[in-house]
């Protein structure tokens, strides 16, 4: 079943408290190469049948209206995976 994958990230100018906490924990496990962490969200929308342009457009609209809040977040990627 094909999936449309939507990735949402906090806007770059919005401080990400969760990412900051993760960045603080990494060195404790010996991972010292990472300067910063930002945490996002990944949504997988499964489609029964072919992903048409219309369905993809619906996914993009859903990404902008429900899956993300444009005040604080950006939709950074919408991608179709045929498995």
């Amino acid at each position: 079943m094909p999936r449309i994958v939507v990735d949402v990230m906090l806007k770059p100018e919005i401080l990400d408290p969760q990412g900051k906490a993760i960045a603080g924990a990494l060195p404790r496990l010996g991972f010292t190469s990472f300067e910063a962490v930002r945490q996002g969200k990944r949504f997988e929308l499964s489609v029964d049948g072919e992903v048409t342009e219309e369905i993809l457009a619906q996914a993009r609209e859903a990404a902008e209206t429900l899956l993300s809040n444009p005040v604080i977040e950006d939709v950074v990627n919408v991608e179709v995976f045929e498995d």
Partner: protein
């Protein structure tokens, strides 16, 4: 429903004129503070009307309170799913109509109002990442709204703050607009408890009929139970809207 008279309270004649107003209190799956909000409405002298999120009948209420809690478990983003409830569509229409239905969003209710774009900005996790519960000192920045006219401008009040996603954020342009248009309704005094931009605790829309804030006025309406076991500063939110409805101060 029988009247819930508090055991300890001041039952002298209220200074504001009572109006027989009907104030709706919305319940979503996961709402926690609807009963306290309804109790606050009754304590102020109005009739509390329960509104269910999936219904579309506003039942001719004169104002609406969207109470706090964790609607839909805060899944996706706090308020993001509730915002699309049928009742919210009705409330948004009525708030934006000429009638300018007064709407107060408390905590999760504030988050629902920002997700609905009835109020600008949004809330993200507290900057210190912890749930916080404390008696919070606030300054009333704008006493010209439907829900704040009973306060003095600049008055300092103490009500309860309890949340995890309480950090108010908006871009600089929006923040400048809010300041210029006197739409910051409340700010935190002293310590900023969650990293909110410009210490904003609550804001209003342009018309002043829609107000949202993170702290909980409905938990500070009764002597014996409010902040420091004495505080009743929250009651003025609910009497303010009655004054507004009977055509008093804006």
């Amino acid at each position: 429903m029988s009247a819930e008279l508090p055991l300890i309270g001041d039952y002298s004649t209220p200074s504001t004129e009572l109006s027989g107003a009907r104030i709706g209190v919305v319940t979503f799956p996961g709402t926690l503070d609807d009963r306290d909000a309804a109790r606050a409405v009754r304590a102020a002298g109005a009739e509390a009307v329960s509104l269910w999120h999936a219904d579309t009948d506003l039942q001719d209420v004169d104002a609406v309170v969207i109470p706090g809690g964790f609607s839909y478990g805060d899944y996706l983003r706090a308020g993001a799913i509730s915002r699309f409830a049928p009742m919210m569509a009705k409330i948004a229409d009525a708030a934006n109509s000429d009638a300018k239905l007064p709407v107060l969003g408390i905590c999760n209710g504030f988050q629902i109002l920002t997700e609905s774009h009835l109020l600008p900005g949004s809330m993200i996790k507290n900057d210190h990442l912890k749930f916080i519960c404390r008696d919070q000192l606030l300054r009333v920045e704008n006493n010209q709204t439907a829900w704040t006219n009973g306060f003095e401008a600049g008055q300092e009040i103490t009500i309860v703050l309890k949340n995890q996603d309480g950090q108010y954020v908006a871009d600089e342009k929006v923040l400048d607009e809010l300041e210029a248009e006197n739409r910051i309704a409340f700010s935190y005094v002293g310590w900023n408890p969650n990293g909110s931009r410009r210490s904003i605790a609550g804001v209003s829309n342009k018309a002043g009929n829609v107000v949202g804030l993170m702290p909980h006025p409905e938990h500070a309406i009764e002597a014996g139970f409010g902040p420091d076991h004495r505080g009743t500063d929250g009651l003025a939110f609910f009497t303010s809207v009655l004054t507004h409805l009977v055509g008093g101060k804006k």
